[in-house]
């Protein structure tokens, strides 16, 4: 048990817990009582590992980015989560959760999605397992991310527009929770990030922790030392960062950097930089850091990247920020778009705009020449082509 992982009551320091209406209690409690014994069972591990290897395409490469390293005068490695099936790390979690749902005897799956990556990853595993799937997506996001809506539909998923509130990710999450309240027995809710009531943040972090487990062994064989000097990852809700940091949390000599979306600037009023702008609060079932008004109403965030467009960060990251274990910085829309183009031109990799935020933060650090810097490249840029085109500066 580490001081950075969840305690037995579901808290990370002052964050976490299960702040849910009673109607959700039986579902969440069933999950809490069973998740560890299931995911630690040999039979689960075997099936999970097999699918990660033969279906997702793991281990994903740890690639030494030669030209980018030259430019930054240090040693930059990219963890290629963008090469996962479906185009991002999200599928690590959906594979894990659907195997868990099967073992809990659930027949139906629901999920929320913002940009559509988690929705597609969920629709994919539901097709794989032959399970019925409904994905809630804000009406505004459905218009912004049409190709992903159609990908989900091709995979046989029903996409339901969230019409409440601001009609984006947080509202899609509310709608999925309402659906779960209305369908308490046969349905499992696959949350896509390290948010939600305990045990979700811990469960999702465990499924994503394969990322740092692989980085460790890949660095060991590559450079003879499993410990990099830095790990960079973008943070929306925080799932790819949770995975990239997980096995380094207790290795305090590894600097962990979480990069939030500053939008048009942290103080512009159009930002998603929660650690700079948020306060402790309760949303979607846990105590987290939350962007909100003085009255406690949740504020709508802004980022050019739909995947970082969430008004809070999950309890594990809130705690890591609070105790100073992870250094949180932010990158603006423009800085991130430029970083995306820079990676495209130097390495022939067009990154997701979420991941481009992690790359943009490299400029804020001074590295030594022999520093080993790992950037978690959480997703690929195919889904963002339209945003790149609209931005146009290339």
């Amino acid at each position: 048990m580490s001081k950075y992982t969840v305690d037995e009551r579901g808290y990370y320091g002052q964050f976490g817990g299960a702040y849910i209406p009673e109607m959700l209690y039986p579902n969440v409690e069933e999950l809490r009582q069973n998740y560890l014994s299931i995911i630690e069972s040999a039979d689960f591990k075997k099936e999970f590992d097999l699918l990660l290897r033969t279906y997702v395409g793991r281990p994903t490469p740890l690639y030494f980015a030669n030209r980018l390293s030259e430019k930054y005068k240090t040693k930059i490695y990219l963890k290629r989560e963008d090469l996962c099936h479906t185009g991002a790390h999200k599928v690590n979690n959906t594979i894990g959760q659907i195997l868990l749902a099967k073992r809990l005897g659930k027949q139906k799956i629901i999920a929320e999605t913002g940009a559509g990556q988690h929705g597609v990853a969920t629709a994919t595993v539901c097709a794989l397992m032959g399970m019925e799937c409904i994905v809630y997506m804000g009406k505004v996001d459905m218009e912004r991310q049409k190709p992903n809506v159609e990908r989900m539909r091709i995979l046989g998923t029903k996409v339901v527009p969230a019409l409440s509130g601001s009609m984006t990710l947080k509202d899609a999450t509310n709608e999925a929770m309402r659906h779960w309240i209305n369908n308490p027995t046969d349905t499992h809710y696959i949350i896509g990030s390290v948010v939600g009531p305990h045990p979700y943040p811990d469960m999702v972090a465990r499924f994503q922790s394969v990322i740092s487990a692989e980085i460790k062994s890949q660095l060991q064989s590559e450079i003879g030392n499993p410990f990099p000097d830095y790990v960079f990852a973008c943070v929306g809700g925080g799932s790819n960062a949770a995975g990239a940091f997980y096995h380094y949390l207790n290795d305090e000599h590894v600097t962990l950097v979480g990069v939030e979306a500053a939008g048009k600037g942290v103080d512009s009023g159009e930002s998603a930089a929660t650690t700079a702008l948020g306060k402790i609060g309760v949303l979607h079932g846990s105590k987290m850091l939350l962007m909100q008004t003085l009255d406690g109403q949740v504020v709508e965030p802004h980022s050019i990247s739909a995947g970082l467009d969430y008004p809070g960060i999950g309890p594990m990251h809130a705690h890591l920020f609070d105790v100073g274990r992870v250094k949180f910085v932010s990158a603006t829309d423009d800085e991130s778009m430029n970083a995306g183009i820079e990676l495209s031109r130097h390495e022939g990799i067009i990154p997701a705009i979420e991941s481009a935020h992690a790359l943009a933060a490299l400029k804020q650090f001074e590295f030594a020449e022999d520093d080993v810097v790992v950037v978690n490249l959480s997703g690929r840029g195919d889904k963002d082509l339209e945003t790149y085109i609209r931005w146009g500066k290339y």
Binding site: R9, G17, A18, Y19, I20, P21, E22, M23, Y25, P26, S164, G165, K170, D171, N174, M177, R178, I181, N182, N183, P184, T185, K279, I280, G281, V282, L283, H284, G285, L290, Q292, L294, D295, G296, Q297, V298
Partner: protein, 258 residues
């Protein structure tokens, strides 16, 4: 110390009507008019909702009223000022219901103290975990003479119902179905069996049934098994359409109680 909720339940055991509405809806200061009309019409308790941007346990009707109320400028301080005004005339118990976040931002201790001083008798914070209440707030609630209501639903186990009964002071809110708030048709046999099961548990606290109560028929059915019932969405719909709040509210309450 006297509390209007415990006094009410000690005197009257059945057919109690609790009416929910969202503070600051449809207009910011309607909170006051509505409370007076409810008492005049014969409601036994008033439950005023603190609006929140993300009310996950609520259906479309109450969600929409929350949004209007927030846009109208409603917040906790303003609501407490309105309750002080309401208390100059209204004698029946007042309960505040709200999601935890706006209360947390106001400060839970300050909220409990100020609510009690304003004349509030009880709180319903549906997303507050029992252990948090027992460890951090129970003593505070008692000190300020506030009742605390927890929810139970058809999927709540008997063991947990007993635990909730133990943590509750005042009355238990029995949600009629596995659902979010909102008017629905007739109760099913399954729901009636659940009400009977609850009645037979002989809990320490009385319970009131809410969710899906919209008319005299559903009120009577729910009240047959419990201390009474709670009406929310149907009333919010009326508020949204009413031309004359006072007379229409009084007529609504009378028709509900029959």
């Amino acid at each position: 110390m006297k509390n209007r909720i415990t006094e009410l339940f000690s005197k009257k055991k059945d057919n109690l009507l609790n009416v929910y509405y969202t503070a600051g809806y449809p207009k910011l200061n309607d909170t006051i008019v509505i409370a007076k009309a409810l008492e005049a019409g014969g409601a036994d308790l008033i439950e005023i909702g603190i609006p929140f941007s993300d009310p996950v346990a609520d259906g479309p009707t109450i969600q929409a009223s929350n949004k209007v109320a927030i846009d109208n400028g409603m917040n906790v301080s303003l609501l407490l000022a309105q309750v002080r005004t309401i208390r100059k005339d209204v004698k029946i118990p007042i309960i505040l219901m709200g999601y935890l976040n706006p209360v947390m931002q106001y400060g839970v201790e300050k909220f409990v103290k100020d609510a009690s001083a304003a004349g509030v008798d009880g709180l319903i914070l549906p997303d507050m975990p029992i252990h948090v209440y027992e460890e951090e707030f129970k003593e505070l609630f008692h000190q300020h003479n506030l009742c605390n209501t927890f929810l139970i639903s058809p999927t709540t186990s008997e063991e947990r119902i007993r635990k909730i009964d133990h943590a509750t002071h005042g009355f238990i809110y029995a949600v009629s179905s596995s659902s979010i708030t909102g008017a629905k048709g007739e109760f099913t046999q399954g729901q009636l069996d659940y009400f009977k099961r609850l009645k037979d548990l002989k809990l320490n606290n009385p319970f009131m049934i809410g969710f899906g109560i919209s008319n005299n028929a559903s009120f009577k059915k729910a009240a047959a098994y419990s201390a009474g019932a709670i009406v929310g969405s149907a009333f919010i719909t009326l508020l949204g359409e009413a031309k004359d709040l006072d007379s229409e509210i009084q007529a609504f309450v009378k028709s509900l109680k029959g």
